[in-house]
């Protein structure tokens, strides 16, 4: 019988900061390999596709292909980094190292921990997006300072992808389980959300599908900001990203509570 006073809604407290800082401290110890993974690969994509493919494609939506793809890769790298953190790293802390169990012996609750993990995944997503933005700026692929406005949106989006990844973590029995999510959700989003080519090139039903998922909405906001214009619409896109994020957080918290507090 569930406790009648309990609620499904997460109730994190400000104590979550201590968990976030714990992850930050560990990350700082492993800075070099971690940065290489989060930052090296997307830069390779940017350069290889941008230079190699760009010559064949020419201009897209009135911009060079390199400029087009830079904004897309910033979004997808935030998605990948946050998803990895919310799955492989969070799972390690939950199931392999008993880090969360140790935290539960203190005034921290699971709600604090899950919220902290999503926020940490968001922070890592933001870090990798920011480094790529810097490189893109150096390469002259960013139009003006409006690009900085993309960063808060990236942070929110990375929170969403982190929270969704934590839902998968809550259900995982081993690391292998994450491949399902990558194959069935992350990769389709990467290919269908306008990262590498405009969404409008795809059949209507695929566009509808893509717009039902969060990444396309992130690209719709971030690309104009990086290429010197304003997004055609803002709030509807933001609402989808936020909705996925809240749903992910609520579901992840409930499932992880059920898994660990039994």
């Amino acid at each position: 019988m569930p406790d009648p006073t309990s609620t499904w809604l997460p109730r994190p407290s400000l104590r979550f900061v201590a968990v976030w800082r714990r992850n930050l401290r560990v990350w700082r110890k492993l800075l070099v390999p971690s940065m290489l993974g989060n930052f090296g690969e997307p830069i390779l994509y940017l350069l290889a596709f941008g230079y190699g493919f760009g010559r064949l494609v020419g201009d897209l939506d009135g911009m060079s292909y390199m400029v087009f793809i830079a904004s897309g890769i910033i979004c997808s790298s935030a998605m990948f980094t946050a998803s990895f953190e919310g799955m492989y790293s969070a799972y390690t802390r939950m199931a392999e190292q008993n880090t969360w169990l140790g935290m539960l012996a203190t005034p921290l609750t699971l709600d604090d921990i899950v919220f902290a993990e999503a926020t940490w995944a968001a922070s890592k997503g933001l870090i990798s997006a920011t480094t790529i933005l810097l490189v893109a700026a150096v390469l002259g692929l960013v139009s003006d300072a409006r690009a900085l406005l993309a960063l808060p949106v990236i942070f929110l989006a990375a929170f969403t992808f982190g929270a969704l990844a934590l839902v998968i973590t809550a259900l995982a029995r081993s690391y292998d389980f994450f491949l399902y999510y990558f194959t069935l959700a992350v990769t389709p989003m990467l290919l269908l959300s306008g990262v590498f080519f405009p969404l409008q090139e795809l059949p209507d039903w695929v566009q509808t599908l893509a717009l039902a998922l969060p990444l396309a909405h992130v690209v719709e906001i971030v690309r104009p900001l990086m290429t010197g214009s304003w997004p055609a619409s803002f709030w509807p896109h933001l609402a989808v990203i936020t909705g996925y994020g809240l749903a992910g957080l609520i579901l992840a918290t409930a499932l992880i509570r059920r898994r660990l507090l039994r």
């Binding site: 406790d3 140790g102 203190t106």
Partner: protein, 301 residues
């Protein structure tokens, strides 16, 4: 006010009553032992006490606060030594202490002094920059204890803290626990080592099938539940001899090829067994005898 008060506590997993109406009251400053075979409900009871398992029925109050509603406030004032290591392998000894302190919202010079003091107390000062994987099992347990004391807790809960330790490490930990007891901290201990419970605890509850089946001071448990003496005898003829010589109020029990006879009058029995050419040995009954009598000799998994 009791440090811990548990009333009619219940927990059911898949239709099995793992905790089935437990009542317990632990006074401030008491060293309390919770004993029971594997699967008896010890750990589940502790978890409900700490707010780590939802309560199906009954009431738990820790330091006067109801659980699980008071979990944050309670855990602020509690120290927990879990059964399995939860030390952070990504950090060194000192970093583990600092990070754990931060979970309590503690930082700064006062905490640093307290960390130094605690590491000194558990003999880990020269290991402060060692990684967790480089520590022995005993060192990890000591660090876990030091970590659990970071918030100067009023109650310390220890779930099988000495499992897997060598005798030296165990005795060292006992000394730490006695010091805590002397400083007025309430302690709750689960263990499978009966001499440990007998040695340390003011009062002991034996739990089986989710119920408390006995609860008293160790000496009283022994006096009340079992004959004071145990005569032990081995050899191929022991079985027949005991069958014929045992007194009407004695109880005999076979463990492998050895017989134990629980008796109030050991001298007469020993004489008779000796007359048959056997070599009986005599010892006083202890808590382990009580435990086996109350919970049975069958294997539990």
């Amino acid at each position: 006010m009791s440090a811990i008060r548990i009333q009619q506590l219940r927990k059911t997993y898949d239709g099995v009553h793992v905790v089935d109406g437990v009542d317990l009251e632990i006074a401030p400053g008491e060293f309390f032992g919770l004993l029971g075979p594997n699967g008896a409900g010890k750990t589940t009871t502790l978890r409900m006490l700490l707010g780590m398992t939802p309560i199906d029925g009954g009431q738990v109050k820790v330091l006067g606060l109801p659980m699980p509603e008071g979990e944050r406030e309670v855990r602020k004032r509690l120290g927990i030594v879990p059964q399995f290591d939860t030390l952070d392998p990504d950090f060194t000894v000192i970093e583990n202490m600092r990070t754990y302190a931060a979970y309590f919202g503690l930082s700064g010079a006062t905490v640093q002094a307290r960390i130094d003091h605690l590491l000194e107390q558990v003999n880990l000062n020269d290991k402060r920059d060692a990684r967790i994987n480089a520590l022995s099992g005993g060192m990890k347990r000591r660090l876990t204890l030091a970590r659990a004391l970071i918030n100067a807790p009023e109650v310390v809960v220890l779930d099988e803290p000495t499992t897997g330790l060598d005798p030296q490490a165990r005795h060292h930990l006992w000394r730490q626990l006695r010091q805590l007891r002397a400083s007025g901290v309430t302690l709750v201990l689960t263990t499978h080592y009966m001499e440990e419970a007998q040695e340390l605890c003011d009062r002991i509850a034996i739990i089986d099938h989710g119920r408390i089946i006995a609860c008293d001071r160790p000496s009283r448990l022994i006096a009340e539940h079992i004959e004071p003496w145990v005569v032990t005898v081995g050899g191929p003829d022991a079985g027949t001899a005991i069958e014929q010589e045992i007194g009407p109020r004695d109880r005999a029990h076979q463990v492998a090829d050895t017989w134990l006879v629980y008796t109030a009058e050991p001298d007469r029995l020993r004489e008779r067994l000796r007359a048959r050419g056997l070599e009986p040995t005599l010892r006083g009954a202890d808590l382990e005898d009580v435990f086996l009598k109350l919970t049975g000799h069958e294997l539990r998994d």
